[in-house]
């Protein structure tokens, strides 16, 4: 195949008015074909929603368009002025060693194509200001020789860079956090800083990997308004990868939808997709759970301290059994401040109390930073509790080690980093003592977990949490965020199957589970 690297005007000519275009992309991993001749074209100012089933290749396509992954075959054109160019694959040997023909993330960034990550990936040891300032290109101060020989020039430029970074952070409402360490800010603040960092590389095209994941209702609205504002003021072209329940929110913003199916991209109108999504998603997780399964139509809801709520569902015709998990006055605090629980009007710290019965699914929804993960981690024994009692099957487990709680039938699915990448799927199930492998996962059993897609990994992790021998209570932290519709149906069916002897507690961000409620006392 002919291989070229054209630069500047040559690239403009071939890209035909598009800012980024890819043609005939093929990509396979270990014999599994992910992309088979995919072509996409992006016009300036477009906001594209990229969606697709789990394993359809969304992340693969995003990685290819940003230079993190090379396609096996295909062409990519970037219209990025002198830094733009076209890349033809497979690469000739001299192109792989020539510094001018490299297809790398850095090269794509210099051509104006930048990205954000699902897990945000700010530099944790640095302040938000430094996180953004480091992204500014062509800094004299990054060359030690310049620093030592022309310190004043470098200092003046650094002052300008810090000004730019500070005002960029202020524009997204982070003016009070410029000197906050990146590992100490909230999820929403970190996401906003990550957008700013990507934009300050000089990006004209920004690809966002699940920017709404893990956010509550207010957080989603904030992020969408920030994105819409950035797109307008900076003239950005956006490609947003999102999953099932967040897609309707992105559709409010999107001008086009790319749907990946069978290795190809179909371009659709947002309006048509929205109509279909109404049928698929309805009004949030609770309604979806109810409709897609035999769960009772109305949930009982218990208000929790600090603004959280637990909705209890049970299967129609199946009365909940005995109490399997009792949480009584549970409080987790650090240095006298409640990080789960709340402070009463008298200044006293007050803990959480609720009961979970066999055969119930409890959906815990609360705002970000309420302490959902803290609650689940303290129940499973990873975090020490300050006060209160956790009773599992009549046994007080408050002071037991995590492994001892697990042996009594308590399991947990963490919201991220919940699989062992280096194991095969079969080995993962063996480690988790899963006796029966759920339908649809046998096909993966000999594959390494690191080679699975995000959704497939999540299915394996869920199966490990729910498939434990003598399961009594499964705690699931945002289990559905990476799922498509088919995976959701499979996951809910799997959750229901485990209800015979056990109960399930699912934590989701607030705004995911609006439903009809009656109060449980």
């Amino acid at each position: 195949m002919a291989s070229t690297v054209s630069r500047g005007h040559g690239a403009n000519a071939v890209s035909g008015g598009f800012v980024l275009r890819a043609e005939g992309l093929h990509k396979a991993f270990g014999g599994q074909i992910i992309l088979s001749g995919t072509s996409v074209a992006l016009r300036a100012g477009e906001i594209v929603l990229l969606r697709g089933e789990n394993g359809s290749g969304k992340t693969t396509l995003l990685n290819i368009l940003t230079g993190y992954l090379r396609p096996d075959v295909g062409q990519i054109f970037v219209n990025g002025g002198s830094a733009g160019g076209s890349f033809t694959f497979p690469r000739r040997w001299w192109e792989t060693i020539s510094p001018f023909a490299q297809f790398t993330p850095g090269r794509m960034t210099r051509a104006g194509v930048s990205r954000t990550w699902q897990d945000i990936r700010l530099f944790p040891s640095q302040t938000l200001l430094d996180n953004v300032a480091v992204a500014v290109p062509n800094q004299q101060g990054e060359r030690p020789s310049r620093l030592l020989l022309r310190p004043l020039g470098a200092a003046r430029q650094e002052a300008r860079v810090r000004d730019v970074a500070g005002s960029a952070l202020a524009r997204v409402g982070l003016s009070g956090y410029v000197n906050a360490s990146a590992d100490r800010v909230s999820l929403g603040q970190a996401k906003r800083a990550a957008f700013v960092r990507a934009v300050e590389t000089g990006a004209r095209i920004l690809l966002l990997d699940e920017p709404l994941a893990g956010l509550d209702d207010n957080g989603v609205s904030d992020i969408l308004s920030v994105l819409s504002d950035l797109a307008k003021t900076r003239g950005l072209t956006l490609v947003i990868v999102e999953h099932l329940f967040n897609i309707p929110r992105v559709l409010d913003l999107a001008t086009a939808v790319w749907t990946l199916r069978d290795g190809l991209v179909a371009v659709e109108e947002p309006k048509a997709v929205r109509e279909r999504m109404k049928v698929e998603v309805g009004h949030g997780l609770s309604e979806w759970l109810r409709r897609s399964s035999g769960l009772a139509s109305t949930a009982e809801t218990q208000r929790l301290r600090g603004g959280g709520a637990i909705s209890f569902f049970s299967k129609a015709g199946l009365e909940p059994g005995e109490v399997v998990l009792e949480v009584d006055g549970l409080l987790v605090s650090r240095r006298g401040r409640a990080i789960m629980g709340d402070q009463g009007p008298d200044g006293q710290l007050r803990g959480l109390s609720f009961k979970l019965r066999r055969g119930e699914i409890a959906v815990l929804e609360a705002q970000n930073a309420w302490g959902k993960t803290t609650l689940l981690e303290s129940l499973v024994g990873v975090l020490p509790v300050t006060r209160g009692r956790i009773v599992l099957d009549g046994i007080d487990v408050t002071r037991l080690e995590p492994w001892a709680r697990a042996s009594l039938g308590l399991s947990m699915l963490q919201s991220r980093r919940n699989v062992f990448d280096d194991l095969t799927v079969r080995e993962s199930f063996q480690v988790a003592k899963v006796e029966t492998i759920p339908d649809g996962l046998e096909a993966f059993s000999s594959r390494r977990v690191s080679n699975l897609s995000g959704g497939e990994k999540q299915r394996v992790a869920l199966a490990c949490a729910l498939g434990m021998r003598r399961l009594r209570v499964a705690l699931l932290d945002e289990p559905f965020s990476a799922f498509d519709r088919a995976s959701m149906i499979a996951a809910v069916a799997q959750t229901e199957r485990s209800l015979g002897d056990a109960a399930v507690l699912i934590a989701v961000p607030a705004g995911w589970a609006p439903t009809q409620r009656k109060e449980r006392l």
């Binding site: 940003t66 230079g67 993190y68 790398t104 993330p105 850095g106 960034t109 210099r110 930048s114 990205r115 990550w117 990936r121 530099f123 944790p124 040891s125 640095q126 430094d130 996180n131 300032a133 480091v134 992204a135 290109p137 800094q139 004299q140 101060g141 990054e142 060359r143 030690p144 620093l147 030592l148 310190p151 470098a154 650094e158 860079v161 960092r197 590389t201």
Partner: protein
């Protein structure tokens, strides 16, 4: 008084060594076992060029720094492909190779500093004189102490300036998440090569100071134990800032001296010192894994 001056000279030399190692460990996030090798290259190049070729101290020190920088650039191309554990092994290989070359480039009855007997092997090179700079002899201990402590102070100030600049920020970003830093369009490899060159050149200068102070060097300057001592200074003191390595050098160099006053029987004193040193390291790892004053925890 001479004892205090002697300690100040050692402290000055090892502060430069610890601060330079901190660039690699604390700012690049890479654990190296080869720092003593670069220290020894500095010592040997300085010793050979001054004793055999009668170069001036400035010429000899520049050559010592240059030789170390060149080797570091060649070796630091490795981190591009080798990460974490495998980088430690690469640095260990460099350490072993340099030590072997120094210990074995030797032929009896041939003057040291020649091609047949470059390093004089296990017998080392003696007769390295204390330098005169701009006509001022550094033979008196107080003047040499002023040079060593002054050099360490100047080095700390320059390093503080460099590491608090955009270059330091870039190194820290690359250490925290290399892939993201590359994705921001940054030349991570170049920044690391610069950091390695600067660190290895600086420790070679410390080596040259050491050779000219002691007057005699042998292969033990390039030993693995010496590298581990330097690494201990940084890990005990803490990495990721300037204060940590300085604190580490002060504690670990002055602790054995403080123990001298404890009137321990000479026969067991060395063992007791090692025991205390070992216990201190274990306690530190449990209670303060980031070191006394460190910001970054080496993984």
């Amino acid at each position: 008084m001479n004892y205090v001056l002697h300690l100040s000279i050692y402290l000055g030399i090892y502060c430069i060594a610890a601060l330079s190692l901190n660039i690699i460990v604390g700012y690049c996030g890479l654990l190296t076992m080869a720092h003593a090798a670069y220290f020894a290259i500095g010592s040997y190049v300085y010793a050979i060029t001054t004793t055999r070729f009668l170069w001036t101290p400035l010429q000899a020190a520049s050559m010592a720094v240059g030789a170390s920088v060149v080797l570091s650039v060649v070796v630091s191309l490795a981190p591009r492909r080798f990460k974490r554990d495998s980088f430690v092994l690469i640095s260990l290989a460099v350490q072993v190779i340099v030590f072997s070359v120094i210990a074995n480039w030797f032929e009896p009855m041939t003057p040291p500093g020649t091609l047949r007997n470059l390093t004089n092997g296990p017998f080392g090179i003696s007769g390295v004189l204390r330098p005169s700079i701009f006509g001022i002899s550094l033979e008196p201990l107080a003047r040499f102490a002023a040079l060593a402590v002054g050099a360490a102070l100047v080095f700390a100030v320059v390093l503080h300036f460099l590491l608090n600049s955009p270059w330091g920020r870039l190194l820290k970003a690359s250490r925290d998440d290399e892939l993201v830093a590359r994705g921001l369009g940054k030349n991570v490899d170049l920044a690391r090569i610069q950091a390695f060159a600067f660190a290895c050149g600086s420790v070679a200068f410390a080596g040259a100071l050491y050779a000219s102070y002691v007057g005699y060097i042998d292969p033990s300057t390039a030993s693995l134990d010496h590298s581990i001592l330097m690494l201990s200074l940084v890990i005990v003191g803490g990495t990721g800032n300037i204060r940590g390595p300085l604190a580490g050098a002060a504690v670990l160099l002055l602790l054995p001296e403080a123990l001298r006053t404890a009137r321990i029987d000479d026969a067991v004193a060395a063992s007791v010192r090692l025991l205390i040193f070992g216990v201190l390291l274990v306690v530190m790892m449990h209670l303060r894994p980031q070191g006394l004053l460190g910001e970054y925890r080496v993984r």
